[in-house]
Every structure is written in structure tokens, then in C-alpha cells.
């Protein structure tokens, strides 16, 4: 495998783990939801790097778009 692709894999997975940890650690709700969105978007990039563009499109549309919209509605409704 190409070494550049391996470096991108390692970089993506590291930032994804950091974002997932931040989503648990943050005390405020809105930064936590944004960190979860970053983790989902990087998961979509990882699917694309593993040659699965179908799953990448579905993950980017549902995981990073619709779920975040529903979370933001819930946060606005309870505030």
C-alpha cells in the first residue's frame, strides 16, 4: 500500500478518537454535539479511503447532517 495513504489513515483515525473523547468530556451540550459531528464526518472520510463510496455518502448525509439537526432541535427545545 502507498505510504501516503497509510499516513492519511493514521491521521484520520487519531483525530476521530480525539473527537470522540471530546464529545464525552465537554460539559456544554452544543460543543459536544459538534465534536460528535466531526467524528462522524471523519468516519465518512475513512470509509471513502477504504473504497466504499456508497457507505461514505450515506454516513455523511445521515450521521453528519440529519442526526446533528435533530440534536440541535432537541437542545433548542429544552433551553
Amino acid at each position: 500500500m502507498n505510504s501516503f495513504v497509510e499516513i492519511v489513515h493514521i491521521f484520520t483515525l487519531t483525530i476521530m478518537i480525539i473527537a470522540a473523547l471530546l464529545a464525552v468530556i465537554f460539559k456544554k451540550l452544543l460543543p459536544s454535539v459538534i465534536a460528535l459531528s466531526v467524528a462522524s464526518l471523519l468516519l465518512s472520510l475513512e470509509f471513502y479511503l477504504l473504497h466504499a463510496p456508497d457507505v461514505a455518502i450515506a454516513e455523511a448525509a445521515i450521521g453528519a447532517g440529519l442526526t446533528m439537526a435533530i440534536f440541535i432541535f432537541a437542545i433548542r427545545g429544552t433551553r
Binding site: 463510496p53 456508497d54 455518502i57 450515506a58 448525509a61 445521515i62 447532517g65 440529519l66 439537526a69 435533530i70 440541535i72 432541535f73 432537541a74 433548542r76 427545545g77 429544552t78
Partner: protein
């Protein structure tokens, strides 16, 4: 739920039509390029979610009716099942339109090629059916969640 600022509304006015058209492109070209009914429907529903976030649910409800989306969802699922039953002369889900000419029946060139949209048999029709179903299902979910949050907030304030 209040509207967001003017910058967000202007960007939404510029962008949401292109997102909807890209979603329908992904649905219709499902048998040639990556994607298909589910992915394209999710993209169109994310455009609806963008409208709901930036404009609030009271204004969006005027041109995104719940009943219309609900009827479209049921008709999409019915169309999918009817297409599956039409191949029942041989088996369930038989591709009875492929390679016979006519509608979606051209024989494709074997091997890697850019593709012809008039191929694929039943698959493009099923893509359109599932795309309509997923589009309106996710749209109904986002619309009802937004108006539910609005309803709870109004009830707490009064």
C-alpha cells in the same frame, strides 16, 4: 423557534436548490455511479433539515406539507412492492426488463465504460421508488421533530 441571522438565511437561499438537484442526480444515476436510492434520499432530506434549521419550523411548514410527504412515502413503498411483484412470472424480484430493448433495456458494453442511462432493467425504477420513500420518510421525521420542539417550548412559556 426563531429564525437564524441574515447571513445564514442568504447562504441557505443560495445553496438548498443545488443540494436538492444533486440528491435527485444521485437517485437517477444510481445504476451508473456510486450511490442509489437511499443515499440520494438522505441528501435531499438533509437539504430539508438545512431549511428547518435556518428558517424555523413555522415558515417552513407553509411549503413543506406533512400530508403531501406522507402520501409520497406510501406511494413509493407501494411502487417498490409492485415492481417486485411484476417479476413473479419467474421469481420474486426478477429483473424482467433487462437486455430486451425498449425502456431501460439496452445491453451495456461489457467491461469498464462510462455507461448508458438507458440500461439496467428494473433497477433505475426501483431506485426512484426507494428514493422517493427515503426522501419523504426522513423529511417527515425532521419536520415533526422540529415542530415538536417548538410545541414543547411554547407550552412551557405559557
Amino acid at each position: 423557534m426563531k429564525q437564524m441571522s441574515k447571513i445564514v438565511r442568504t447562504i441557505t437561499n443560495l445553496v438548498y436548490g443545488f443540494i436538492i438537484i444533486f440528491g435527485f442526480y444521485v437517485i437517477v444515476h444510481g445504476h451508473l455511479t456510486p450511490g442509489g436510492g437511499f443515499q440520494g434520499g438522505a441528501i435531499v432530506a438533509s437539504a430539508f433539515a438545512l431549511l428547518l434549521v435556518s428558517y424555523g419550523s413555522l415558515i417552513t411548514k407553509k411549503f413543506l406539507k406533512k400530508d403531501f410527504l406522507s402520501i409520497m412515502e406510501s406511494s413509493g413503498l407501494t411502487m417498490f412492492i409492485v415492481l417486485a411483484f411484476l417479476g413473479l412470472g419467474i421469481t420474486f424480484f426478477y429483473n424482467f426488463l433487462a437486455n430486451i430493448g425498449g425502456w431501460f433495456g439496452n445491453t451495456p458494453v461489457i467491461g469498464p465504460n462510462p455507461g448508458d442511462i438507458n440500461t439496467g432493467g428494473v433497477i433505475p425504477l426501483m431506485n426512484i421508488a426507494v428514493g422517493l420513500e427515503v426522501l419523504s420518510a426522513l423529511g417527515v421525521i425532521v419536520l415533526l421533530m422540529a415542530s415538536g420542539a417548538e410545541f414543547t417550548k411554547k407550552k412551557e412559556n405559557s
